[in-house]
């Protein structure tokens, strides 16, 4: 049996007392999702936004309600930071796909043809995402790209869960309509079963 690791709320409580060791554990746990979120929101300055958000969150811990889930509380601060940076006239960048060779390890390498198709399809989807209204795009990004729960998404956006559901449904319908119009190949490729396993 191992001495158990502390959970988020316990670490947050210790961090609230000024303990930077405990806070570092929380940063390590959530730095990746924080940077990704900042990237999805603004495209640029993601690391800086996430870093600043973590610093702000540390000083805001006094307002963290003990016992509440920590991750959505933190990510709301990250989202605000990233959005403010974008608004304040800094550059906003389009999201980019990573180079083909950087596939996550363990993923089976597709044939060259399939790889090209997959890339085209992902590019088309990304473009369609950019054409969504911001609030719809965020729901999609949080739910599918960051894989946050419905509850977390609702908490971060400060909207009821029902709103998350309805925005998501609408966004998916819009995305499909957009793709059918702009990328006729999209559905066809998918049916071909050559992608995504």
């Amino acid at each position: 049996m191992e001495a158990r690791l502390l959970d988020d709320v316990e670490l947050a409580e210790l961090a609230r007392g000024g303990d930077t060791d405990s806070y570092e554990q929380l940063v390590l746990r959530y730095q990746e999702v924080a940077v990704r979120m900042a990237y999805l929101i603004c495209g640029a300055d993601a690391e800086d936004a996430a870093q600043e958000a973590f610093v702000k969150a540390f000083y805001a811990l006094r307002r963290f309600r003990s016992g509440a889930p920590f991750r959505p509380w933190l990510l709301r601060i990250v989202a605000n930071e990233a959005r403010n940076r974008c608004k304040s006239g800094r550059r906003r960048e389009e999201l980019a796909l990573r180079a083909v060779r950087d596939r996550p390890s363990g993923a089976a390498a597709p044939s060259p043809e399939a790889a090209v198709l997959e890339r085209e399809r992902s590019r088309a989807l990304l473009d369609a995402l950019h054409r969504l209204r911001e609030r719809d795009r965020l729901v999609v990004a949080y739910r599918y790209l960051l894989e946050l729960s419905e509850d977390e998404t609702a908490q971060i956006l400060r909207v009821p869960k029902g709103t998350v559901k309805s925005r998501l449904s609408r966004a998916l319908v819009n995305l499909r309509a957009d793709l059918e119009e702009t990328t006729p190949k999209f559905g066809h490729v998918n049916e071909g079963g050559s992608l995504g396993g």
Binding site: G17, T20, Y23, V27, A34, A46, S122, L125, L145, N190
Partner: protein, 268 residues
């Protein structure tokens, strides 16, 4: 989400795939950057409360808070708790007051101390060499345990009750000395103290320590990997905690403070 019409399900699947293909920036190194920013910040931003605490007697401050707990005023702010630990001056040690301390440990024969080994085996397995009390009247430990529950391992020496060493809440145990390694900069421990627990700063052979009398329950420490862990106290009894040579020692017994301190100075 599986209730959507077929075409939307395809979009959902494609979105999930897209998540893995985006060119996200690297997050590594963020923790270090955040930490250094926090440490550069003026201390007042974190520890405003500290200024309002009396700087006189550490024991008085601790006693005030323990009394507050006993009186049911449990809402001591976390900042205050940490400030008390700072006032105690124990390097890297944090005392933590539980808002609702768990029920006292029910001593059982199985203290979850790991496997029974010889002292030589324990020393071979752990990343450190156990320090053993060299008091003639105490004699040898009746049992030595090793556990890998924490990085670097933990060695526990168990002494059965004997003349001069009264039984604890566990009738088979007179004294339990636990040793483990907490590494690097801030070896950090916190102890949940329930109402009715007396706490006092002490010096053990030149090293700072804390004496807890009453019913301590569990505490926190920083392991050699820098992770914060919670450890449950084995016996409901008096506890002397001290740190020396990057090791943390925990002496649990029914001994008085003076007796425990005397014993501790012989742990070398």
């Amino acid at each position: 989400m599986g209730e959507r019409p077929q075409p939307e399900q395809e979009v959902e699947r494609a979105l999930t795939e897209l998540g893995a293909l985006l060119d996200y920036p690297e997050a590594r190194g963020l923790a270090r950057a955040v930490r250094s920013k926090l440490e550069q910040a003026p201390p007042s931003r974190i520890a405003r409360f500290r200024w309002s605490l009396p700087h006189g007697s550490v024991a008085t401050t601790a006693a005030v808070i323990v009394v507050a707990l006993a009186a049911g005023m449990i809402l001591v702010s976390p900042t205050a708790r940490s400030a008390v630990a700072d006032l105690l001056g124990l390097e890297g040690v944090r005392i933590r007051y539980g808002q609702s301390p768990p029920a006292p440990v029910n001593p059982s024969p199985d203290l979850d101390l790991g496997i029974v080994v010889t002292l030589a085996e324990a020393n071979a397995r752990a990343s450190f060499k156990a320090k053993v009390p060299s008091l003639a009247e105490l004699g040898q430990a009746d049992q030595v345990y090793f556990s890998d529950r924490t990085p670097g391992g933990q060695i526990a020496l168990l002494y059965r009750p004997r003349p001069g060493l009264p039984r604890t809440a566990n009738e088979n145990v007179g004294l339990l000395l636990t040793e483990f390694r907490g590494q690097v900069r801030q070896e950090f421990m916190a102890k949940v103290v329930g109402s009715g627990t007396r706490m006092e700063q002490v010096t053990v052979d030149g090293a700072s320590g804390i004496w807890l009398e009453g019913s301590p329950h569990f505490f926190f420490y920083l392991d050699p990997d820098g992770k914060v862990r919670q450890e449950t106290i084995r016996l409901a009894g008096n506890t002397l905690l001290w740190e020396k040579d990057s090791l943390t020692f925990r002496l649990e017994s029914a001994l008085s403070k003076d007796e425990a301190l005397r014993l501790a100075t012989h742990v070398r």
